[in-house]
Subunit: 220 residues, 4 copies
DNA sequence: AATGAATGAGTTTTCATTCAT
DNA sequence: TATGAATGAAAACTCATTCAT
């Protein structure tokens, strides 16, 4: 029932072993949460023995911390590839919304890791030294887009880039994070097409909100 | 170590014991998640012995299912008290947004229970027979508000009430659900005032989105 | 191979279970030392399950601490039964020496517990609140004997009772504590008879040492 | 590590590694006992890798056996340097007592190794082929001292040198071996000065005991 | 001669659950 | 109705030992 694929052995290659453990941990913690995750299962998924995990990370919490960090690193890598500078402001927003929705859906461990960490009241992320820097890049990019948009007259000015980012994330996060309860409670068909419509609606909503006061609606 | 307050004993009152266990379970599961929750701790919080919990509920999963159901019941009770019919359409929207944001923040167990259940891929809610009905009331109310708004010319027509509800929930859910990571990663001061500004912005955004095509912005 | 006797079960009697665990722990720690002792083995010896041990004591160290305390309690009980007041001073000394030698030999856990605790640099006994009082009774009794002896002119005065006790213990302790190495290195027949000759010699030595300056030897 | 030397023969390196391991093992086993000692820690202390230890010694027990033997070798070396033949009999006794007390205190691994081995019921020393010879030298020297003393009329005759040695060891061993528990239980200030007073008293006691029947006390 | 990489077989500890009253 | 006593099964973690170079 649990996704144990023995994984081919990578013999005597410390760095490869480390990375295998990290990815296995990310998946296991994301699927089961901090307390539901099993070191045994991580070892199985990574194709290594349990003691090796302790050799490399020390204890379960440290493995968890490394997995949490990895979740952030992975989304940051995706965000950094976005070339927002090269796009028209409205297009940049649409692009980021689309990326977020996609990433949340295709790398499901990101959302569940965040939920798990928030359930634990952020006790681990607080200790990750570089957690702050980890997303500052994106905020700076967003600030630039907002400025350009204001200068070009397509956005109103004075929008806080962090607030904008949180709105984007909110609209993309909830439908994915809560897809199982939504399916049961509202009967939503929580599939790819539905998610894309969500992202579409989110872009609409955000661009309306960013539009300058006197502007009439342009919409799609 | 966790917030165990022994609670005064309720002697020989089956219904009271049941309710004490239920509330204790709701808090424990909401604080620690399904796997982190401890039957011992629930017994302690409820001021009863462990075997009593098994007598009443059968096993840990059944206690969890009852707690999950209780979370929905509690929010539905709040929503039913909202007199959306008596308000102007825009006011009704604002009111629901405010209520959602407030409820998420003041009854923190709702969000964490949903996250926990979604981490478990909805395996429990699927079996709750009445889960579907549980929120249909609200959707019907929202549909009525939307119709009234369209009739009065303040909303565009053709808006799906479920989609609207999900958007409302999204904007209110994420900032509360992720408050610990947001604080660390973005340095947000995740307090009451900040949440109210989030709700304010959410209302703005939603009303703009609901506005009919030709309408100019009203804003506050 | 290890001295596991399943022991008859004492069902549903908390105090009896506690005592069974304590005695089993005393024997196991005394035989194997702190790190060699096994909780599994203690459970087996006591005829209870492992979790019960954790219920009652908390963890291995706490079990060890309780066992160490018990070792002292047991020897104190023996010492308290000695009626030194009723004996002539020299007889009291002989009696205490004999008791010590006997106790060391017949309750072998006392010596090995002390050795174990000293190997651990007294890290546990330091935290036992009542460790100090535990032997003060005996020292007071010895002081009385010394005073009586001095008054009667059979002992010199000014002997420190603690120093005397340590000398007694030294002479009785070493031959028992080191019986295995002594047997191999010196070929001593470390049996009951040999131990009694040791105690005899110890008494001689101590009484000579206690004798007042002018006294001529009485000997046996 | 040592840079400017004409390449040393490999055998010398091997021998140095062996000795480093042996001393590291002696210290580790003496500090933690057989079961508390860690091969990892021995490797660390010795500055070599774990597999090297297995190459040289085979397994943990063999390392332990070698360390135990080394403890005896070291004390024998000290005892052999004592020139008991050149001293007056009483002086020889005092000298040996002083040496024992000093050695026990300054080479603390001797006592803890003996205690550890006795905890293990001598299972290792029994297999050391040369354990017996290891201290016979000292016993022969002591026998000679006793004979000289008897001939000179300062000792009574018929004293068993082994019994004498055990008495000496007893009085010097216990206060050092049990210094941690003694400190807590009796409040003894177990420092250098205190130990010297113990040795002093031990010499007194032993010489009184060795004195011939008619002799009056000399004392200091 | 020497070591970094890896693990099998335990050991302590935890926890949902049942027994007996 | 209620609970103190007890445990089987499993989890995190450890450690002597071997592998491969």
């Amino acid at each position: 029932m649990s996704g144990a694929r023995p994984a081919e052995p990578r013999r005597r290659d410390a760095e490869a072993s480390r990375r295998a453990i990290l990815q296995a941990a990310l998946e296991e913690f994301a699927e089961k949460g901090h307390d539901g995750a099993r070191i045994d299962e991580i070892a199985l998924r990574a194709g290594v023995s349990k003691p090796l995990i302790y050799d490399y990370f020390g204890n379960k919490n440290a493995v968890y911390a490394a997995a949490l960090r990895e979740a952030y690193v992975q989304i940051r890598e995706g965000e950094e590839e976005l070339e927002l500078d090269a796009m028209a402001p409205a297009e940049a927003i649409r692009s980021l919304v689309r990326f977020s929705a996609l990433h949340f859906q295709e790398k499901p461990w990101f959302i569940t890791m965040l939920n798990t960490e928030n359930l634990r009241r952020g006790s681990t992320i607080t200790d990750l030294k570089d957690a702050g820097e980890i997303q500052s890049v994106l905020v700076r990019k967003l600030a630039a887009v907002l400025e350009r948009g204001a200068a070009e007259g397509v956005f109103r000015s004075g929008v806080d880039p962090v607030e904008l980012y949180i709105s984007i994330a909110s609209l993309c996060y909830f439908p994915v994070s809560n897809r199982f309860t939504l399916r049961v409670v509202f009967g939503c068909p929580v599939d790819r097409a539905w998610m894309e419509r969500c992202a579409e609606a989110a872009s609409e909503m955000l661009l309306l909100w960013l539009a300058p006061p006197q502007n009439t609606r342009k919409s799609r």
